[in-house]
Amino acid sequence: MSRTPALLVRGADLAGGGAGDVLVVDGTIRAVGTDAAADAPEGVQRLDADGLVLLPGLVDLHTHLREPGREDAETIETGSQAAAVGGFTAVLAMANTTPVTDSAEVAETVLDLGRRAGYVDVHPVGAVTKGLAGQELAELGLMARSRARVRVFSDDGRCVDDARLMRRALEYVKGFGGVVSQHAQDPRLADGTACCHEGELSGRLGLPGWPAVAEETIVARDVMLARHTGSRVHVAHVSTAGSVEVLRWAKAQGIAVTAEVTPHHLMLTEGELAGYDPTFKVNPPLRPAEDTRALREALADGTIDAVATDHAPHVRQDKEHAFADAAFGMLGLETALPVVSTVMVAEGLMTWADVARTMSSAPARIAGLSDQGRGLTTGAPANLTLVDPTRSHTVDRALSRSLSRNNPWHGRRLTGAVHLTMLRGQVTAREGLVWGATA
């Protein structure tokens, strides 16, 4: 579908700020408010959005698009489609591909594949260390200078556990305004076999424990390193109440730390593991309800800055193993907004303005994206997500645009659905269906 020349979205709740109109012309927001219609050119298309909520396009700091290397699980095209259906207009693609995104060349390949797909802006995350091996720095500067303009660096899936290496990475990326996104997991306290929150349930189930302290000690160390170096650090998929306490303290000190939480850590708890279904195997693991509560509060009060999906597609044969042998990770792009709507907005913990902050403006700011997350303001690119806040639907994993089916929300009823997604004025998805984005 070609770009809509002019579109007037009428009567939507503008990101929680009350009803109004938004006029989009040539891919840009031309006017916002009750008198936006006055500026509409001849032949403008009108979209009646009464009862809907208009958000700035969602930005995901944390996806795994699997390409290059595991195109059987996901491709940049299918992952982008899932993102568009989920209301996203930009995603950051993690570096643990094959080959690893640890060079300008791979980063540019990912960027180009994202552009060719055209559903969302795909920004590659660069590896912190060569081959994610945790030994020596990857070519961070060359990735930053590449066409991909990489600003977020992460060994996600692995922790940069060497304190000296982490210190150097934090210092080095200051030179070009980068940020290190840390997968906080002390590998001595929680090794690769750890797969269940350590506690009574892991004791009963006989599953290797992943103690909260393995995350919290790294978060504590890294905020101190950020203070020492004067650098920015971002904590990926925060999962424990203890990490939240550390973050709250660090922010009160003025330390430049940001953090994200996944939809699954906001909604699902460790109890899902009782049946040993590997669909619920994820890293960090699902935690007890006390942690879930603390994460919700922290997201609402700003201690946690952003929601990020950690969308992690896996083919069936990598999940249909004994729990200990199955791959870590779950899908998230298509369900993120409905989950946040269900557990945060419908429960009265957050407003739609908070959703716009935690799923669009804050992640865009953390990732250094200048044309995303700018809100519903005149002159901003028309990256828009229209949400039906009251529509309930039962998740059916078969309907996913992802190539994979490891969907923990299958069969669950969620309230709030993405109605339409628009990238720079082009509709990329509508009612769960992808609209051809590129001519």
Binding site: E198, G203, R204, D318, E320, H321, F323, A324
Partner: protein, 310 residues
């Protein structure tokens, strides 16, 4: 009863039925001709993804004495690299029309997953550090023969509890039968979250073996692997043996009627001394002998249904 996955799935009545049937099965063991026709024409696969000697042998003998066709298969715990999933592997066997799979797997929960994937009857013959229900049933059988009704009896379970599937099944089984249970181990070898667990399920924990021994009717010593030292669970084998081993000195702390159990294999000189293992009150060989009878009873209850075993 279709599967035996966890003792938690059994009521006290069902446990008692299995133990009662095992009594008559045990008599078969003393006959010259041991075959019963009960499971003629039924096919049982012993599918062992992890090494085992006594469990596999006793399940196989149990099946043969009941006239089932038993086939042993071994598999690698992880076939991720081969591209075949565990589900593919077991569905292949299931498609051949077997009646039961007896599964030993190094990963906790694998038998429960397999029960979800297949149509046949599944017996958990030990899964990771989760459960070993047939072992707990034969331990209960042996203790019941030695002590009578286990209601109100006090059993201490001592050793590497955090890594023990025997512990989890025995704890559930003994509690279901009304026994008091005290877990004894250094804090590093207690199961995760044991404080909340013991409060919820009503058992005791102690770090002091000497204080517990005079109060027990039975003490069950669990194997401690010497390799655990490298994980920092305890400093040396010597220190473990002195602090938590059932030494000759500690035998003197037991009441006269108290018995000693060990599911094997034993680490003599570490968790159990030769004096304790070979004492008159030791049930170690009775446990092995009960293994076949109890497993015959399990096969009977899962495959032949209710009624008189004879």
């Amino acid at each position: 009863m279709k599967h035996l996955l966890s003792i938690a799935d059994l009521s006290a009545e069902e446990i008692t039925q299995i133990l009662d049937t095992a009594v008559s099965m045990h008599e078969v063991q003393d006959r010259q001709v041991k075959k019963l026709p009960t499971l003629r024409g039924r096919t049982i696969i012993n599918f062992f993804f992890e090494d085992s000697t006594r469990t596999r042998a006793s399940f196989e003998i149990a099946g043969k004495w009941m006239s089932a066709d038993t086939i042993n298969l071994t598999g690698k715990g992880t076939s991720v690299s081969k591209g075949e999933s565990l589900r593919d592997t077991v569905l292949t066997i299931d498609a051949m029309g077997v009646d039961m799979m007896i599964i030993r797997h190094p990963a906790s929960g694998a038998p429960a997953q397999i029960a979800d994937w297949t149509d046949c009857s599944i017996v958990n013959a030990g899964d990771g550090t989760h459960e070993h229900p047939s072992q707990a049933l034969l331990d209960a059988y042996t203790l019941r023969r030695a002590l009578g009704d286990l209601r109100g009896r006090h059993v201490a379970i001592v050793g590497d509890l955090t890594h023990s599937r025997v512990l989890r099944s025995n704890l559930l089984c003994l509690r279901a039968l009304g026994a008091q249970v005290t877990l004894v181990a250094p804090p590093t070898l207690m199961p995760s979250g044991v404080a909340a667990w013991s409060a919820a399920d009503g058992f005791e924990t102690s770090y002091d073996l000497d204080a517990v021994l005079p109060t027990v009717d039975a003490v069950m010593m669990l194997r401690v692997q010497r390799e655990r030292m490298s994980g920092g669970y305890f400093p040396t084998a010597r220190e473990y043996a002195v602090t938590y081993g059932l030494t000759a000195r500690r035998l003197g702390l037991l009441q006269d009627h108290a018995v000693i159990a060990h599911p094997g294999p034993m680490n003599r000189g570490l968790e159990i001394s030769a004096d304790a293992a070979d004492a008159a009150r030791s049930l170690v060989l009775d446990q092995v002998s009960a293994g076949v009878a109890v497993r015959m009873s399990i096969l009977y209850h899962l495959l032949a249904g209710e009624g008189d075993a004879q």
